[in-house]
Amino acid sequence: MVNPVLLIVVPLGLAFALPLFGLISKKIIKFIPVVAFIFNLVISSLLIPRVLNHPIVISIGGFPPPFCINLVAGPVGILFSTLIALAGLLVSIYALSYIKEGPEEKYHILYLLLLTGATGVVLTGDIFNLFVFFEIVCISSYSLVAYMGDKAGTESAVKYLIQGSVGSSFLLIGIGLLYGLFGTLNMADIAQNITSISPLSIFVPLMLIITGLGVEAAIFPLNSWLPDAHSSAPSSISAVLSGIAIEVGLYAVIRVIFTIFGGSSNIFMFLLFLGILTLLIGEMSAFSQKNVKRMLAYSSIGQIGLIMFAFSIATPNGVAGGLFQLVSHTLSKALLFLAVGYMIRRTGSMDISTFEGMGKKMPFTSLAFTIGAFSIAGLPPFIGFSSKFLIIKSALEKQDVLFTVLVGLVLLGTVIEGAYFFRVVQVLYFKGENVNLERKEAPVTALIPIFILVALIIGIGVYPRLITNILKSGASELLNKVEYIRSVIG
């Protein structure tokens, strides 16, 4: 049996060794993240069949669980780490020729460490360890947003840094309060003792932790950094930030709410309210954008709102739908950003009106963009349709008037999404022609990941049974707190 610690430790070791490789030869630096993520992908896929029923619990240092840090590689954790490894691999292949200027060695180290931190967040079972790995994700993303060194990038990075650091401080206060109340930092241990303290005292640490994690997860009032940061980062980084970093933040919020604080109906109402608010504000703001990357960033905010709505349904189908939507968002949003990256490089500007006639100049890339757009809007043969359908079906199954009304709002959000994506597709294919460009496709290293993402989107969309097993196990792990506690502490 392979030890899940290797998923975190091997990329970390490679990242530390990367400057040494750089001293030997500059050409092999770009390939080391590719190697690291191939390794991660292989190990995660090997672990999937083993964790479907029972999570693997590893203790670091050999001591029994509440007295040491432990990793809990359950179905949700391994699903996420496979997704992170897959997305990381594809974007690092894309970056082989996309990143040409600037200090490349530092880009690859920061990129590798961002994804290692993300893998650490999803696999850990200890709340202070969650904070440390979460900080790894945040600090690498601050540096990567400012990587290009231009005006927009630096300004967005400063805003992101200040908001992110205040959020982290709140998270740390919340963790300190939890330690003072319960005397332990292990998630399963806190979950076991959560009912022994009155709900009023629990309320404040819960709010502080959700606020702290919510800055990175882009929940409604805390996401003003997101449009700036995601639009001024280089496109490969935008793909990883939108596809992985905010989802890992949302995973942390979900893990804290479902596993540590139990899930009372009050919390779910609060999550539902925030989710719908985030969804509507994200979609409506995206509708009025003229800059294509800002539009995609606001669309990410909308999708996070939808995922929060799905999780607040709190039935097995609803939680499975939320996990499915997370997978579909990563794949589709990464595809969109990767396709847009080269289009922007060809026209030199991010304004949608300059993409007129791209359908003929870069046919494969535009087709990929269209497929990604249709998938996020939720059209039939793609993965976005299957995930949205599952969410709406589970909301209607609840037989509650409130949920039916909110399903109406979700559908309204979907219509707005469709509208602004169709507008871009129309400009790509049906508007005039930009005569200054000749017909030249993106390089091969960019087309390989785009092709693989398109294949996955269509494949899983047509045949969702490929991943429903692991989604259902994940849903039952999140909803069934007692099982989790028993498998860690015994």
Partner: protein
């Protein structure tokens, strides 16, 4: 307007936190986890400084994350300031006075020695890798202040930083290979309260100490040169 909103917000937060703190009395008896660490600390790890055994043995993964964060900060600063032009050499800088110049050169090896003492004795007295590393960095900053223009060679610092991190990861992996747990304490524990005790803890602290010292020096170097 903005000030009023901020003050109201902060008042709400303070009120909330006070509500939560009423349940946590100050100076109460220890938690179960704390008591376990103090009672069993020496048997399990051999280090008499219980905080060190918590930092490196029981919660060693957090320390690995922390070392990574400092590494990311150093690399990130290098990346952000990479396109900034270096400070021109002809800029008028007043050279340091004779007292500063002589004093710093005299104190440099002593401070360096003190820093190394602190992290080598991390398991015996208060101290450890990060503290010792900060002291080493302050020694180098004294040299930057007094002898303008002398810098550490870049390749050497990069190599030692990477090696420091790699040593930590490799020690953990050896523990994984030998005992089945990452960061298992596989070296003999020795007699408590002597220098050669506590298994892998002194080795890791030496690696961390040099790494942190050179990293902090590199950060200050970058900030001075490129501003």
């Amino acid at each position: 307007m903005r000030s009023i909103v901020s003050i109201i917000l902060i008042a709400i937060i303070a009120l909330g936190i006070t509500l939560a703190l009423i349940v946590i009395p100050f100076g109460e008896p220890k938690t179960e986890v704390g008591k376990y660490y103090i009672d069993k600390g020496i048997e399990d790890t051999g280090a008499v400084n219980i905080v060190t055994s918590v930092v490196l043995n029981y919660r060693g993964f957090d320390t690995l994350g922390e070392v990574t964060i400092l590494f990311i900060a150093a690399i990130g600063i290098g990346a952000v300031l990479a396109t900034q032009k270096k400070r021109k050499v002809e800029k008028k800088v007043t050279p340091a006075s004779l007292i500063l110049y002589t004093g710093c050169r005299f104190l440099f090896p002593l401070i360096l020695l003190f820093g190394i003492y602190i992290f080598i004795h991390g398991h015996l007295s208060p101290g450890g890798g990060f503290q010792g590393g900060a002291i080493i960095a302050s020694a180098f900053v004294l040299i930057y202040m007094s002898c303008q223009g002398r810098r550490l060679p870049v390749t050497l610092t990069k190599a030692i930083e990477s090696l420091g991190g790699l040593v930590f990861v490799i020690v953990g992996l050896i523990g994984l290979g030998l005992g089945g747990y990452f960061l298992l304490n596989f070296l003999p524990e020795g007699v408590p309260n002597t220098l050669f005790s506590a298994g892998i803890i002194p080795i890791i602290y030496i690696a961390i100490g040099f790494k942190v010292g050179l990293e902090l020096t590199g950060i200050i170097d970058n900030l001075i040169e490129k501003s």
